[in-house]
Symmetry: C3
Subunit: 183 residues, 3 copies
């Protein structure tokens, strides 16, 4: 039995959901995207897990603080952000992500943009990326609720193996909904 | 009526065309690529606009200076560069672009390389990128005249919405030539 | 006759093969990937060349040292690395590559990930890149022996022209095995 499998027996995998939005954090509208991430992960995963949900304004220090707290204090194996990935002055989620990560994984952003391009030509405006902080994988998703499922479907097949490689948590999925790949 | 639409009424959108080429700047050959950019934009746009054209050698300080001048003094909403994106020692346009931008947009380079790859396998050698400086979007195109139209066709559908997001200018196109997308 | 063609007449092109692997460098297993690179290049190239082979642990200083030595002392026109491109803490080959290069060529990584994605969804976890140090092109390949040929087939058509542009060496291939492109 692998170390990562033993851990699953004693602790429940925690996944951070971080919504970055000035308006949602002011209560101007409901955070549909954050809820869509949780709903999608519930469909995917058969491993027991719990969500650690945070909602912050589009402010780099606030986003960095939330990422550090979710990674270091909450011990999340995975953090999925939504919002703040565009070209507007207040869009700083990729900058905050890069600031707290030791390693960047450009393939996630490339693949999500490539898939989103099948739907909208403005997909090239998204600066979403992914990176590793210690034993936590951080992935940026765009803010638009419609893109959440498209992006997660595109990259999640690689997520559990990535978590294995950084000794984060051993995640198993319902293969009829999300087929993951471990080489 | 939106602020950006009102602005179009009083000022004409200015677009910078910056050719980076040692030989063209020395008069060794004509700048066909810069002219091709202007001709293509004339076909695309129905909004009134004027070109601010510059021709500089492949020197990083000169390119940075021209980009700053076109963005800050001329108030260009968009700057399109051509040349200096390859691997040769004198190719420094992407470095100059990154040096003057607050935000990089990697999706532009990915998409242009992906489209150019359909024509030539050496497309992977191009380091072209895009970024935001204040209210200006800067986009690198390769130097080869043939690639100008291919690259502009590939990324321009996303350009007007990007300019909306940075409050730069409201551009409208002839949809029979260039169909843009605003979500 | 071009300068680069004359050089081939008097010196033999040298190509560095650098395997980055803790286990292979400890003798735990054989370096199959390094051997696969050499075998593939032998099939591709009709130009006379010799291999400069190095095997180092997954340690950034060791990788940087080997890259510098192969580029500056051995005068390699091309260095192909294998291993250390994933998200694990000991995977630092892209960081070492970036540290010794003046220019990065993101198109190589994009294209290799794109091709590998046709085989495995975990291709997005690879951080492989390429860059220029002086007159040397450095390309990262993944560590998995199976990916070596897929990746080299995907990017090698652009390699000889890149070496022309940095005045490194004039390489010719057997067009029935590897068709290169010079614009």
């Amino acid at each position: 039995m692998k170390t990562s499998e033993m851990k699953v027996g004693v602790t429940i995998a925690k996944i951070g959901i971080l919504t970055c939005s000035d308006r949602a954090s002011q209560g101007v509208y409901e955070d549909i995207s954050g809820q869509a991430i949780i709903a999608t992960l519930k469909e995917y995963l058969v491993t027991d897990w719990e969500a650690a949900y945070r909602l912050v304004p589009d402010d780099q220090a606030s986003i960095e603080g939330a990422l550090r707290q979710l990674a270091d204090d909450e011990g999340c194996c995975l953090i999925v952000t939504t919002g703040g990935t565009g070209p507007a002055p207040r869009d700083v989620t990729p900058e905050a992500t890069e600031a707290v990560c030791e390693k960047m994984l450009p393939g996630f952003g490339e693949q999500m943009r490539s898939v989103s391009l099948q739907y909208v030509p403005t997909a090239i405006l998204s600066r979403q990326t992914a990176g590793i902080r210690g034993r936590t994988l951080i992935i940026n998703l765009p803010g638009k609720p419609k893109s959440i499922r498209q992006c997660l479907d595109a990259i999640f097949p690689a997520v559990p193996y990535c978590l294995d490689l950084i000794d984060a948590a051993y995640l198993e999925t319902d293969a009829s909904v999300m087929k993951v790949f471990r080489p």
